[in-house]
Subunit: 458 residues, 2 copies
């Protein structure tokens, strides 16, 4: 398409060596953590400043050329695959911490900084950034996908932890949303509009993030349950009692078996809950005692404790490598990783029905859940050598999404829409989807920002 | 204007006695808690269902007639004054609790239900709705203005506590945003877009709200400080240590003097902090001990405790009647009530500079603050018998807003834009204000929803 070619020519003139059309760069930016095929852009811009991004978007706008933002490429729904080609703006070189305001418990960062890099930089300040999606994602990408994860039950999602943004709009203008104040009633909440918009309304070029003080005391514990229902019932009781657990993760029996095989652990091959407690020494002791009591009420096994840092790391390693553990059971398989979120009262039903559906179709159900939020993930494997198997596998994932909607939930708790969940958007939002489309049209009338994602247009 | 007259005629035909053009109804819906003059609408619709609202908005849209939503009229920035006339939709008859989901810690309500009515209904379920702006506002109005208040430091604002909405759009279509899931990454965050939009993007006809378990133990305490700086420094230390205080309110010396005079209390006439602690018995004891230690470090006086319900109520009554206490010092004065929010590191500076500015202009500075959030309120009195005094008073409020912006804050932490803060929107948002205007135009192209508020158009 000549508009793309013209845009690339103009970008080359403006950006010089920051623009690449080298095949390895195009291919690395056409790859995702999903089953979607290689989808390279026509060029990659390695931006080093907000001004680079603004100028590039302005040039692309002048030529109607698609623009896709890129952080670390760890999205699980192919958000950053440039399905209409065009220019991918790689933000990984914009990775500085710009300003730490420790009294205000916040930090200004560039979008390419990763969450682990940020936490390393904060370590000796007694602070940390809590949102933990597992992958060492870029903070800009985490905001764009409204990421959350294991600690969300205590500290919230990116929605709750982004205070302010700098954003380049579809016409290249630069705006700032939010402020350094903890709250505001001054107009529409543009920060929350851009968080979760997956690069379709603007490109995030700076973020101000809330920070937390490192807790004096951290403890982790694991225990097993007879089944998913009793584990989830225990979690409901814990949440209702207001115990501020920092993490509560469910792994089902299938997943535990894979974890043991992969990590050399010896957990009973039953449904487990993994807990983490943050607070003062007395606070953690009290939370732990309360949770242990509830767990016993629901027939859970004895707690295995980990209080030393290395023991906690080993415990959480088992959880964090769960994806790789599942994949190791069929390394050449095409793995579908999908997530939904339901009201917690419906979680046991949602999970057990999903397990039954998978079993009825001869699939292993690797299930992981951030159960304090009602959010769970399923890993399902398709055999690439079996014709039609990927399609059958996707149907199982679709039914899981439909089940979540029927129970009052959402088709994605944290992975985002990307390409994989587009087909469910109308069912989830109904008429509200037309409002999303109206917003998209008003802020990106040419549909150049990450086209083909979030909202179907026309 | 004949479009308004035509709309009212059509509404009368459709709605019968629910539509009123009686002078007392018009006047009661043209009054605000501000210095703005009586601004009655042309008619008031007492809606009893979402369908009423949808049909009324459809009729108004057909005639280009302004529509203003009305909850309890307790807004402090004249949000609901129908400055372009037209029809006010009074939602106070839509005041039912629709569904309590105790396992999911949430409730569906109609917008006219007030927060106190909700909490009465929840009392024997062991649950409560935490957002407390002081006034017994309607929950729809609280969402529309992104209300917060004394408990926000612990439980968040309406932004954090609204899970889902039903909204009537400017063309009468009904949409639903959000779901019963605690989090979602499925598309643009429409819930947060309507929260704080002050009725300019749609009329809220149903809300799903997060609830909290009633804490086992509540304690409150008061202590005095030599000055604002030492009080604020103590609060910064407490917030940094992660102590989950449920309330921390500052009242300055002037305000304390008025409180004593009004409530017959005998607090020392110095800057005070009012604290409330929620948790288990051990948790509250630990929080209190930590806070008492910090307070001592910053030269605070001894804690006066209130653990019994009646003592706590008496203590908070002094805080909650602060407005009336200030107004009692000059009952016939024109009182300006204004709020800003700044980064907490800048709060002492913001308050002391405001006190100095007021003193330099011969005004008493009644100051109250939700200081854990960096949010503070000033009550300033204009003498209606002094020509130009209201204008001079407003200039003091304007400088307070400008000072907040210069310090990285916002011109309103919780009162909203309404009429009073419109003039500061460009200074606060810069180019982002044009994005707000674009959103407004895309969702309300005729500008019939609460015209003249939030975003200046053209």
């Amino acid at each position: 398409m000549s508009n793309i070619a013209d845009a690339i020519q103009a970008l080359k003139a403006a950006m010089g060596e920051k623009l690449s059309t080298a095949r390895p760069d195009l291919e690395s930016h056409g790859t995702s953590e999903t089953y979607y095929p290689l989808t390279p852009p026509d060029a990659v811009l390695f931006a080093t400043s907000t001004e680079d991004v603004a100028e590039a978007v302005k040039i692309c706008a002048a030529h109607g050329c698609p623009v896709t933002a890129w952080g670390t490429g760890t999205s699980l729904e192919a958000h950053s695959l440039p399905v209409k080609g065009g220019v991918t703006i790689d933000l990984s070189r914009m990775n500085r911490m710009l300003e730490l305001r420790d009294q205000d418990l916040c930090v200004r960062v560039q979008p390419g900084l990763t969450r682990e890099e940020l936490n390393v930089a904060l370590r000796d300040k007694g602070l940390f950034f809590p949102v933990d999606p597992g992958a060492n994602a870029s903070l800009g990408g985490m905001a764009a996908t409204r990421a959350s994860g294991t600690t969300t039950v205590r500290y919230g999602t990116m929605r709750d932890n982004v205070m302010a943004l700098e954003v380049v709009l579809a016409d290249g203008r630069i705006i700032r949303t939010g402020s350094l104040a903890r709250k505001s009633s001054a107009g529409y909440d543009l920060t929350r509009l851009f968080v979760g918009s997956e690069g379709t309304l603007g490109v995030i070029t700076e973020l101000t993030l809330k920070l937390q003080g490192q807790p004096d005391c951290i403890a982790a514990a694991v225990c097993d349950f007879a089944d998913v229902e009793s584990a989830v019932s225990a979690v409901i009781a814990i949440v209702q009692m207001g115990v501020p657990v920092a993490r509560v993760e469910l792994l089902n029996d299938v997943q535990l078996r894979s974890v043991n095989a992969y990590s050399g652990t010896d957990y009973p091959e039953k449904t487990h809950l993994f807990f983490e407690f943050h607070g003062s020494e007395a606070g953690v002791a009290e939370q732990s005692a309360t949770v242990a009591e509830v767990v016993e009420d629901f027939g859970g096994g004895a707690f295995r404790w980990a209080t030393k840092t290395e023991d906690r790391n080993a415990l959480w390693k088992a959880r964090h490598t769960a994806y790789w553990a599942a994949k190791a059971t069929f390394p050449t398989g095409q793995w579908i990783v999908t997530d939904v979120c339901v009201p917690i009262s419906q979680l046991a039903k949602a999970i057990t029905e999903t397990e039954a559906d998978l079993a009825a179709h001869g699939r292993e159900a690797h299930i992981l859940g951030h159960v304090g939020d009602g959010n769970y993930h399923v890993l399902i494997c398709a055999d690439p050598d079996l014709s039609g198997d990927l399609e059958d596998t996707l149907k199982l994932a679709d039914r899981m999404a439909e089940r979540a909607l029927a129970l009052g939930g959402t088709v994605t708790g944290e992975h985002g829409v990307g390409l994989g969940k587009m087909k469910h958007m109308a069912a989830e939002h109904g008429e509200a989807l037309s409002v999303m489309a109206a917003l998209k049209r008003s802020l990106d009338p040419q549909n150049i920002l990450n086209p083909g994602k979030v909202v179907p247009l026309n």
